[in-house]
Amino acid sequence: MTTAQSSQSTHVAGAAPRAAGMASSSTAQRWRGFSNLLPALLFLGLFFLAPLIGLLMRGVLEPSLGLGNYEQLFANSAYTRVLLNTFSVAGLVTVISLLLGFPLAWAITLVPRGWGRWLLNIVLLSMWTSLLARTYSWLVLLQASGVINKTLMAMGIIDQPLEMVHNLTGVVIGMSYIMIPFIVLPLQATMQAIDPMVLQAGAICGASPWRNFFRVFLPLCRPGLFSGGLMVFVMSLGYYVTPALLGGAQNMMLPEFIIQQVQSFLNWGIASAAAALLIGITLVLLYFYLKLQPESPVGASNAR
């Protein structure tokens, strides 16, 4: 089936002659090549868009027509806690991964190329390693009898094992870890584009290193910080695997809530309302992301 499909696709791809002037009507000319889109369009429409719309409809149709599910989502204190928790975890993760990603991106930019390559490879390796493998590793590392607790106890820093899994700490550590590469990559690209002479000029004009850092370097990094941070925040809102494994019942986030409502309580109405909320927030934030992207001063000057 697949070979038939691919040979057919070759055919349609080839059947899009671009030689102009032969088309009888301008409409036909304008829509030429559109047929190549049809297989993928049909696929996405059938298996992605239709189910998505179907899911979102259930929020206003089940159990009865109306906005009851949405009201519940904001009225029930257990539900609002999930919302609040989702945002605070995503915010915390964004801040921590920015704080850890910044020095790394900075070092990659300024160390000799060979070293920078290695640091970048470490970042990429961590990014490409199976999500489950990394989360499992943290689960073992952070558990009460894990290495970190054992080491801290042996060093005499603590007497009792710290509780670092199945609570907020676990989720924040695990997720910040996963998000660091998504900060480092855009931020490093931004820093790479900064002209070192600008900073030299700041120093020559008498700015102290501190002042130079906060008044010149940091503002120049802003586009990278901003796009990386926003991306991480959006991704954190929608993360399921890591919070489900490293978090506890006390700090459930929206994605886990949606799955729980569907699988355990068969409450599709409330799950759908929560899904709509999550999609809405994601799209609004991404809109800002795209809107603010081209305004980056460094990106603009670097494009030339």
Binding site: H11, P51, G54, R58, I122, T129, S130, L141, V241
Partner: protein
């Protein structure tokens, strides 16, 4: 001066390098840890392990459930890759070469599965397949994986297609090739890096997919991540460390292949 290490002042420089070293260690820690642990002899994942052993590897490869999940993962990933390339190739051609209105909007539509949170796609597709009675089938795995793999494939192919000068294809046509021959013999070889990258992405997305697979899985049909997930929720047996190590090995392998492809591209470009 803040970007030229020698002019930076030793204190700031050493401070930055030290911080960076620690963060790099933090990034490597769980990966190295899990690989070491898979060879450790302790059932309770004591570290450093009291001894070294291959028994978890033996257990992993001797267990028919783990092996079945690896096989399912491979099947799903290969089928997903084939479907994603077959669907993505004509789409990329249409989006790059077509002149019809609404192309930006269509492009946004095709990248939408990258943006919508995975959980929501999983629940939506799960609802559909629940109604059709398709949950727990190979079909449901492949379809759900193709949805999220397709944007990666389309973007990779578009990127290399944009770099390809179409007049070369036209030249082949002028020299007597049919348009199809020209596309097949001239354009496809030229955009092969994009096609290979797209296929690699699709494979990796499918291979590593957890959320969709957990929703589509049945007790009898599980991919490797699903098997890891369900085992993980019961206990933390070192066999999961073996599965993780094999996954890490695969990621490294794919990274090396991707780097080699990039290098070859740079040379040929």
């Amino acid at each position: 001066m803040l970007l030229t290490p020698n002019a930076m002042g030793p204190r700031l420089r050493i401070g930055l390098y030290l911080t960076t070293g620690l963060i790099a260690l933090f990034l490597l820690l769980p990966i190295v840890f899990i690989v070491l642990l898979s060879f450790g002899s302790s059932q309770w994942l004591v570290f450093p392990p009291p001894g070294w052993t291959l028994k978890w590897y033996e257990q992993f490869f001797a267990n028919p459930e783990w092996m079945a999940s690896v096989l399912t993962s491979l099947k799903v990933a290969v089928l997903t890759t084939l479907c994603a390339v077959a669907l993505g190739l004509p789409t990329a051609f249409a989006l790059v070469r077509g002149r019809f209105p609404g192309r930006e909007l269509l492009y946004a539509l095709f990248t939408l599965p990258m943006i919508v949170p995975l959980v929501i796609i999983a629940v939506a597709v799960y609802a559909l397949f629940l109604k059709l009675g398709y949950t727990g089938t190979l079909f449901s795995f492949v379809v759900s994986h193709v949805i999220v793999a397709l944007p990666f494939t389309i973007i990779s192919i578009i990127n290399s297609l944009k770099l390809f000068d179409q007049s070369i294809e036209d030249a082949a046509v002028i020299c007597g090739a049919s348009r199809m021959q020209a596309v097949y013999k001239v354009t496809f070889p030229a955009i092969r890096p994009g096609m290979v990258a797209g296929a690699l992405f699709a494979f990796l997305v499918s291979w590593d997919e957890v959320v969709l697979s957990v929703m589509m899985a049945s007790p009898t049909l599980q991919t490797l991540p699903v098997k890891m997930w369900t085992t993980l929720r019961q206990d933390l047996t070192p066999v999961i460390a073996v599965a993780s190590t094999l996954l890490i090995g695969l990621s490294v392998l794919i990274m090396v292949i991707a780097a080699a492809l990039r290098r070859r591209n740079e040379v040929s470009a």
